[in-house]
Point group: C2
């Protein structure tokens, strides 16, 4: 029996996607081979990769001004690859620090360039977001980097920051495909697959072509976006199974209304859960309502001695992976695209029953 899985990532995938993959795991498209067993340079897989890219472009409305790359190393790898591809030694890179993932991206960029942190929400324990107009991007910055959604504290931008004319770079890992997104406002978008796109081990990079052509000499070839763009991401062997699953997931997104459909569904799920929390004094969420994430909903019990009871009883009820991040504690429900409304309803019902029993 499938459970309702609230893991922050790797996270649940649509059951229909897994069933499709299961059905053809030993015999892909009548080939007598698994999709994992064929050459990435063979005609069948090349056609698969082309379909995946076309689907991604269609779903996210990505123009030909952008290259789409399918690489390895996760978003954390791109924390290094981005300065290597977009800056020179001594350049300044501007950052908005809105949580743990921003903080890691800043530390990594500091190996390659000067960093200027224009806004930092540490004082609020990352429960707020920088107000538009409250910071100014330095002239000549190589780019402005931000994290549209932070998984640990559960904050999410509801607007695109003003980058003051320099390229805007987004680590979109935990919110890509969850709602319409203004690609054209960005120079680079990258996202690990393991939240809304597929299994871990695949990172998607969407880069405006006019930013290519200036990698540092010491950029590892597999992360040289200019080289990979020319080679259709096949300088080396891409993570073929992840790419294939991304394709199935994109099909599922399209069959379910595209990004508008995802947004409606995700907003509904998030509202139901936040409303339940806010109506109760037993549960609370510390995030500024305007900054609340649709993807990751952390909450705490008024009585934290009940945490382990809550988690154990939830698990027994088929509601899994609800523990908060180890750095925060409490609870966190990650409700990415693949989580059905029924899963959030089941969680809300459980929470209300738990409050009646233990409140």
């Amino acid at each position: 029996m499938r459970v309702h899985n609230f893991s922050a990532g790797p996270a649940m995938l649509p059951t229909a996607v897994l069933e499709r993959a299961q059905g053809e795991l030993l015999d892909w498209d009548g080939s007598g081979m698994s999709v994992m067993e064929v050459s990435h340079r063979g005609a069948a897989f090349v056609a698969c990769a082309e379909r995946v890219e076309a689907s991604l472009r269609s779903v996210l409305d990505i123009s030909d001004d952008y290259a789409c790359l399918f690489l390895q190393g996760g978003a954390y790898g791109m924390f290094a690859a981005t300065p290597l591809n977009l800056s020179a030694p001594g350049d300044t890179i501007a950052f908005l620090n809105t949580g743990d993932w921003s903080t890691k991206a800043i530390a990594e960029a500091g190996k390659y360039a000067e960093v200027a942190v224009l806004a930092d929400t540490s004082d609020s324990l990352h429960t707020t977001l920088p107000r538009p107009g409250s910071y100014t991007v330095p002239t000549g910055a190589a780019y402005l980097h931000y994290t549209p959604n932070e998984t640990i504290r559960g904050v999410e931008f509801d607007h695109v920051p003003d980058s003051g004319g320099v390229p805007l770079v987004a680590d979109l890992s935990s919110t890509i495909l969850s709602r319409p997104f203004d690609v054209d406002a960005h120079g680079v978008i990258y996202a690990g697959a393991q939240k809304n796109m597929g299994p871990s081990g695949l990172v998607v990079v969407i880069v405006r072509r006019d930013l290519l052509g200036r990698p540092r000499r010491e950029t590892p070839t597999v992360w040289d976006w200019t080289v990979q763009a020319k080679a259709d991401s096949m300088v080396n062997t891409p993570p073929t199974f992840g790419l294939y699953l991304l394709g199935l997931t994109l099909d599922w997104v399209q069959e379910n209304g595209g990004l508008a459909g995802m947004a409606a569904r995700n907003q509904g799920k998030a509202s139901l859960l936040y409303d339940t929390i806010d109506r109760s004094s037993f549960y609370s969420n510390p995030v500024d309502p305007s900054a609340r994430s649709w993807m990751n909903v952390p909450f705490v019990l008024a009585d934290p001695t009940l945490d382990s009871t809550f988690l154990n009883e939830a698990d027994a009820a088929g509601l899994t992976n609800l523990a908060g991040h180890r750095s925060v504690g409490g609870m966190r429900a990650s409700i990415y695209n693949a989580m059905p409304l029924a899963g959030v309803r089941a969680l809300v019902d459980f929470m209300q029953e738990f409050e009646r029993t233990h409140g």
Copy 2:
């Protein structure tokens, strides 16, 4: 119906491994979740990763003097990561150039250090290997790098090169787990998974611990072997599905006699195919017999105008992916661990019948 798949990589996996993965793809170990859907930091997956490492250590007889890392970026990524972790700017790195993969590793290392190519088999079109004693490793070299098996020309070392006291580094991608291997003679071994271990997207690094601790400052964190060794390869999200499949594959290796069993099976397959080629004037293999690979067997027809007929008829007979590398042409049969003897017998039968019909 499953075919006999001679792909050079990504390559066939044991059918038993795929069947096991298929059976539990939506419900791993009774969890109600796919192994792809669980956190890499959760107890279940951490236990899985620990079992995989223990199996790898057991199968390859890896001592505690070595760390085993499970990373992303492929062997090509490690072409950059190795100099970043093991050399300083201005150091000399020694190489044996025995084919296309060595050549790529040399070019990548040249971004980070001085390169000394001690032996180069280009003159024989990489159909030979450097003789022991024919080269001398420079005193003070950071390390000596070689490629025990080259997939494109089909050459394979039958001995461990003498590194003259500097650390020996092997790109073992295309022959790992195929026969016993002297890990202790090496400072570092790395290998992409997509030949003998699992799907593409996972690279295994086995590094002697005394070589850790001196990464360059600009080493990307996800490729910082020192940091990853301390973090059990979980600085960022590892390719969890690939790790899981590696575990199933290692179980299969153990159930089939370990590396001694693999060696007997692989030598038998290779002998059958080379003998068939050598007994015929219709087929030929240009590689010096002492340098022939057990994993990749390239061969050409005396009449190359028959190549496409051969490939089409083979494909129709359920013998797929036999085209030679695009840089070489002709035919290539990759016969990694997962290829059963029955597959090679079927190929040999087909080749003999084709020769009778078209010779």
